[in-house]
């Protein structure tokens, strides 16, 4: 489907189609009826005129009497016979004292050797009224039928599609983390029943795949701990043994560092999984200023005077305390690690924002990848590549917005709460 297509609900769409079709049908049938009834009425008037004319001829041939009853009957003696014709005409009617529309039959006949032009007229106002009355009743009836059908159709559709809509809502609420399979409403409609089967098997597959993937991550991180512990313990025993030279020691401590990195990566992956599993379900109202101050204190023991803190106001957030610490730690340590020339970093709290900035030379090349797992802008700094991914996950969990920008030779990481 083309992007940007306006979406219409199913019921509305079918109602709309019904509406249009009915409207066209109504229009066509009304026009057709109008012409047909008019034709019938005209025929009727003409029949009447003919029969009147025949009677007049009878009277003339019987009694030789010529009478006038203008404007309804006019008889004239003529020398030449013309052709018979019907026409509509407007004549002043003295009885009504106004111009009236008449249907007129003008015939010529020769009776008893004399030539006559007999003109008979009938008022057609009456038949117009009848026509209007018929059309009006027709319109009213058809409109009522239409309205009735419209609602019948709509409620019928609603009932028909009910299982579909229920299942759609159920699907919207579908979560990968959910322990229960989706609860679909059964339907006696074949297609819906098939759809249910397909949806059930798809969601079951997705859930089991997701579960396996999670289990895999957990298992791998978990199972790696013991071998790592063995390696670490052995290295420590070797270091404390005899006959070691400086170069061997260098190698061994370098292995220790890598074990440490692996361990940290494990811990962080486990943390990511835990956040995804929503295992941090103890949100509390926190004074973020205090949390930041506490974290700065912690960092100051390692790097004294490397962090400036500016607080414009008190920022209170509703989140898990541990995750708040992790969020601050990751942003701060990221800034410290990458600050050019090891210059001091700045943390500032503003209206619903937390900003951490550090010295830098140029804007990062791929800022959009910054918050993804295992993305590193440079390789010469040892990192797990998970710090900002964790920041992103925590923000996702609570609906915060993390962003990166570069200004005045500073990399700025901002979180909007």
């Amino acid at each position: 489907m083309a992007a940007g297509t306006k979406k219409v609900s199913l019921i509305r769409k079918t109602s709309k189609t019904f509406l249009w079709i009915s409207l066209v049908l109504m229009l066509v049938s009304t026009i057709a009826l109008y012409f047909y009834v008019r034709y019938l009425l005209q025929k009727e008037v003409e029949e009447e005129l003919r029969s009147t004319e025949a009677r007049i001829e009878n009277v003339i041939s019987g009694k030789g009497l010529i009478y006038q009853l203008a404007p309804v009957v006019e008889i004239k003696n003529v020398s030449v016979l013309g052709t018979e014709r019907f026409k509509d005409t407007v004549i002043f009617d003295p009885s009504q004292n106004e111009m009236e529309e008449f249907r007129e039959l003008s015939t010529y006949s020769e009776i008893n050797g004399k030539k006559y032009n007999i003109t008979v007229r009938a008022l057609i106002v009456e038949s117009e009224y009848i026509l209007i009355a018929i059309m009006a009743s027709y319109l009213i009836i058809i409109a009522l039928v239409f309205i009735f059908f419209f609602y019948l159709n709509k409620s019928g559709n609603q009932r028909l599609w009910h299982p579909f809509f229920r299942n759609l809502e159920e699907m919207k609420g579908f979560s990968l983390n959910s322990e229960k399979p989706v609860q679909l409403v059964e339907s006696d409609i074949l297609e819906f029943s098939e759809l249910n089967t397909v949806i059930s098997s798809l969601t079951d597959k997705v859930r089991s795949d997701y579960k396996n993937l999670k289990q895999y991550t957990e298992d791998v991180s978990h199972e790696m701990q013991t071998p790592l512990a063995i390696i670490q313990a052995k290295i420590e025993n070797i270091i404390n043994g005899d006959n070691l030279n400086d170069i061997q020691y260098e190698h061994l401590t370098s292995i220790q560092q890598d074990i440490y990195r692996l361990t940290q990566m494990n811990k962080r992956l486990t943390l990511l999984t835990k956040i995804e599993n929503q295992q941090f379900a103890n949100p509390e109202v926190l004074n973020l200023n205090l949390v930041v101050k506490k974290r700065i204190q912690n960092f100051n023991e390692i790097f004294p005077d490397k962090i400036k803190f500016e607080e414009a106001n008190i920022l209170e957030v509703l989140m898990d305390h541990y995750l708040a610490e992790v969020l601050c730690d990751n942003l701060i340590s990221n800034a410290l690690k990458y600050s050019a020339e090891k210059k001091a970093i700045t943390i500032s709290i503003g209206h619903k924002t937390l900003m951490v900035s550090n010295q830098g030379e140029a804007k990062l090349q791929n800022p959009e990848k910054l918050f993804t797992r295992f993305y590193r802008e440079t390789s010469h700094i040892k990192s797990t590549g998970l710090g900002l991914a964790i920041v992103q996950k925590i923000c996702d969990l609570y609906g915060y917005k993390p962003s990166y920008s570069f200004a005045d030779h500073r990399h700025i990481f901002k979180v909007e709460f």
């Binding site: 701990q225 670490q232 340590s333």
Partner: protein
């Protein structure tokens, strides 16, 4: 000191025993659940180092059994699982400390000594190394009975050195001991030099020159 190491990974069990025996401790080992249950029932230990995931059973059950019989045995749980629930359950059952794998043996050693201080001496013990005396309750150090002023981290560092005296300690081990999880917030451990140098200077000024350099970048706390 009599220590029982209940750990089903034999290599890890042996490494721990090797490290701890050097201080003159007697280490016994249990390689599965039944052996661990049997030993805690029959013998008395000062310390139990307990893996929570023994192949044939849960270390928590061993802990329950132990606490029924010998309440005084200090216990340290080691686990591959970093979950808080396990930790809390273990501590609730009476474990004294909890270490997540992988851990440094020097760290294990220092934790064992700390839980022993707490359980046997009520936390009020003086640790001594020649003329250095540390009062662990007031967290102060004395050299020749004169108090020396140390920062919190310097005090922790000195205590760590003394409990692991004669051992080579790399800056990685020291950083992890002092800062725990926060230590991974930095990209290298060079910051540790500053703290060690400060401590070394304070000790040397008071005549205690025990912090030696080992293999260029490591440290060892020992007499000449």
């Amino acid at each position: 000191m009599k220590i029982l190491i209940a750990e089903d990974e034999i290599e890890l069990q042996k490494s721990m025993a090797t490290y701890l025996e050097r201080d003159g401790n007697i280490c016994e080992t249990a390689s599965d659940f039944n052996e661990a249950m049997y030993k805690v029932d029959v013998y008395v230990y000062d310390v139990l180092v307990l893996d929570i995931n023994l192949i044939t059973g849960s270390g928590l059950d061993v802990l329950r059994e132990l606490k029924n019989n010998h309440r005084d045995t200090a216990t340290i749980i080691i686990s591959a699982n970093n979950s808080l629930d396990d930790k809390l359950e273990g501590l609730d059952l009476g474990a004294d400390d909890y270490l997540t794998k992988p851990f440094h043996l020097a760290e294990l050693n220092s934790r064992i000594k700390a839980v022993l201080r707490r359980s046997k001496f009520g936390g009020d013990e003086t640790i001594s190394f020649n003329e250095i005396h540390i009062n662990t309750r007031s967290r102060t150090a004395y050299i020749d009975n004169k108090p020396i002023s140390l920062t919190r981290k310097e005090y922790d560092l000195l205590l760590f050195f003394i409990t692991n005296k004669g051992r080579v300690l790399s800056k990685e081990i020291i950083a992890e001991h002092l800062w725990g999880d926060s230590s991974d917030m930095v990209d290298n451990f060079d910051f540790i030099y500053v703290h060690i140098n400060n401590l070394r200077k304070k000790l040397t000024d008071a005549g205690a020159k025990y912090i030696k350099t080992a293999y260029g970048t490591g440290y060892k706390f020992m007499e000449d």
